[in-house]
Symmetry: C3
Subunit: 177 residues, 3 copies
């Protein structure tokens, strides 16, 4: 038998490939979760209500201190609402920070900050209106081969960092998956 | 014939490896594009004109509302110009957000924010002078084996988010590759 | 001999797999370094002194213009100190930007910005107190198979961007590994 046909080499290759596939899946998942967090901001700042809602599962929740939003309908309503529309017409950015992502199979948790920065009354100046701490809980749902299988937000909990300690408490959970 | 020499196992390994290679290429490309966006800021804030220009292709364009810059020469001129040099000598940061990256073979589009934050006249305070929305269009050019093959910016379109709606329109294109 | 048992195919597979493994290691390392930078902020803003210090090596240094911190003990002391505790009780975020990461085997350098944003005396407003440029030098230490092998910060050099040019000089080193 030729050396090249040694079944041990095939076994070793299969084991190494399986390890590489697992490592690649982790990297791809981490990037996919980061992409969801990054996508929220341009969608919300351009008033793309459907695009924002599509980042959540159908029954997803956006639990924010200014009002809890239930399901995609609740999220779309917020984006289409007068308060949000006024802000984006005036000129603002919900600027996303670099997040920490923790993966656990088909679940993930990401912790990050959003600064809401809007044009000030002084020309050529912007004001930071909010610094929000967010804990994003995500899941990958659906059959393994489904074309729309992918990561979605199940629950985003968001609190301004103030002296009430709620934002701080969320940030304190960044090490918990 | 030993089980290990089954040609079907080799076929299966080759197919799995090809899939892993494709997945890895996507992850590496996404990280490479993020690295270019991240690199712009320290280079521009340290006055590294050549380093900033090198992120673009030779004929790349930086289309910003404060003046369109054509080619690497145009970009270097801006960095060496009085306005920019005054700003960085005073103390400022062009702080980059987490971007959304969409890949399509040898082309990529990234959408993100930059906050221009500079020292205020009040000691120990900074002022946000601009919140810029950017759409970066990148290409990977050159022969596959060329040592300098890599991603470069072909067109960066940048608009402050104001009530003129231009920044908002750019952000609204974040889902378009 | 069946075509599938050709030792050349095995050789080719092994070479391709080795290249994929190397590429995956680079992507995973880059993400791991980003995760450390991202982790600093929620840990420091929630007062998790041990969690912040654990990002450094035992003998790691946090060389910041407001005072050099030596080793994990020095870093924990800063987090537990009155100045920091007052700031986080009041409400603040050390908001991390997208960083540039350069890898070189078991060493890495990352350059990025942190904005320290705190509640202002005006309700519903925040003030940017600092824009800090940081150069993070990291190492991966320990035996290859050790469970706690991983990236740690050896030296973080941090300077506010002001007219003293120190922040600017740090940013100017973003291309140096």
């Amino acid at each position: 038998m030729a050396a090249g046909t040694d079944p041990n080499r095939l076994d070793a290759l299969e084991a190494r490939l399986a390890a590489a596939e697992a490592g690649l899946a982790r990297a791809a998942d981490e990037l996919a979760v980061m992409r969801i967090l990054a996508s929220y901001s341009p969608r919300v700042d351009s008033g793309d209500a459907e695009g924002v809602a599509a980042l959540w599962t159908e029954d997803g929740v956006y639990d924010v201190d200014t009002g809890r939003l239930d399901g995609r309908d609740g999220i779309e309503e917020m984006v289409r609402g007068e308060a949000h529309q006024g802000l984006i017409a005036h000129g603002c950015g919900h600027v996303p920070s670099l997040p920490v992502v923790l993966l656990d199979g088909d679940r993930a948790v990401a912790t990050g900050y959003t600064q809401l920065v809007a044009r000030s009354s002084r020309p050529g100046r912007y004001t930071v209106l909010r610094v929000t701490a967010s804990r994003w809980e995500l899941e990958r749902r659906g059959p393994v081969d489904a074309p729309d299988r992918g990561w979605r937000v199940v629950l985003r909990t968001a609190r301004a960092v103030t002296d009430d300690g709620e934002g701080r408490a969320l940030l304190g959970r960044s090490r918990e998956g």
